[in-house]
């Protein structure tokens, strides 16, 4: 009984992650501003993938060290990559440090 509860929860998490993935990736095909696509992507990539990894964590608890590492790496990397993409989308500005380094 407990096993099936874990199974169902994990399925639910995987499904929710997949839903967020589709919701966040769809705007890429639409005609929207670059930054608003990035906002949607942070929902898909970071939050959706994190839910999927949690689902996998319930499903394969034996692999928790690697899955935790993946979860950690995914959340930090995706978030910071989103910031880098957003910052690079702007024309170089004089007041920012990046502008000074050019």
């Amino acid at each position: 009984m407990q096993g099936s509860l874990v199974d169902h929860t994990s399925l639910l998490l995987l499904g929710a992650g997949l839903t967020l993935w589709f919701w966040g990736s769809w705007p890429l095909l639409e005609n929207r501003s670059y930054l608003s696509k990035l906002h949607a992507l942070s929902v898909a990539d970071t939050l959706g993938s994190a839910l999927m990894l949690l689902g996998l964590l319930l499903r394969i608890p034996g692999q928790w060290p690697l899955l935790t590492l993946a979860l950690l790496g995914l959340i930090v990397w995706n978030t910071i990559f989103g910031y880098v993409l957003a910052a690079c989308s702007l024309p170089a500005r004089d007041s920012t440090q990046a502008g000074e380094q050019r």
């Binding site: 967020l20 919701w23 929207r32 501003s33 930054l35 608003s36 990035l38 906002h39 949607a40 942070s42 929902v43 970071t46 939050l47 060290p65 690697l66 935790t68 590492l69 950690l72 959340i75 930090v76 978030t79 910071i80 989103g82 910031y83 957003a86 910052a87 702007l90 500005r93 007041s95 920012t96 440090q97 990046a98």
Partner: protein
Amino acid sequence: MRNLLPLLLSIGFRLALWCLLTSDLSWLNLLIGLVVALLLPRARSRPLPLRALLLATSRSLLAIPQAYGEALRLIFAPAVEEREASEPATDRALPLLVFLDVFRITLTPFTIVLGLEDDGRRYRIHSLMPASKQDGSRL
């Protein structure tokens, strides 16, 4: 303590990653991990105020559940609007705190940091929020 904190943090973080990667807690493996953590190059570190670090860390962790809340609000929003905003930045001399701030702000789907402005005193933020009722301009 303040001077030692950056060193302890970076060594601890690397060792934790090593343990997760190898999933082996034997003494030999811990020793190898410690050597690797010490050998990897480190950025020049400055004394780190513990209280500010704990505050920034807890705010970053709290941002994770908050991000899911914002994601749901975005998904069910009938209309959204884009805006630019800014927020006072933490001391730029402490890169770890700036990193945590950027992480916290960018993690949530409503806001993305675009960079620093005003000579590094403020974060330039782009936000995408559910539109307020009176102006229902759809993007």
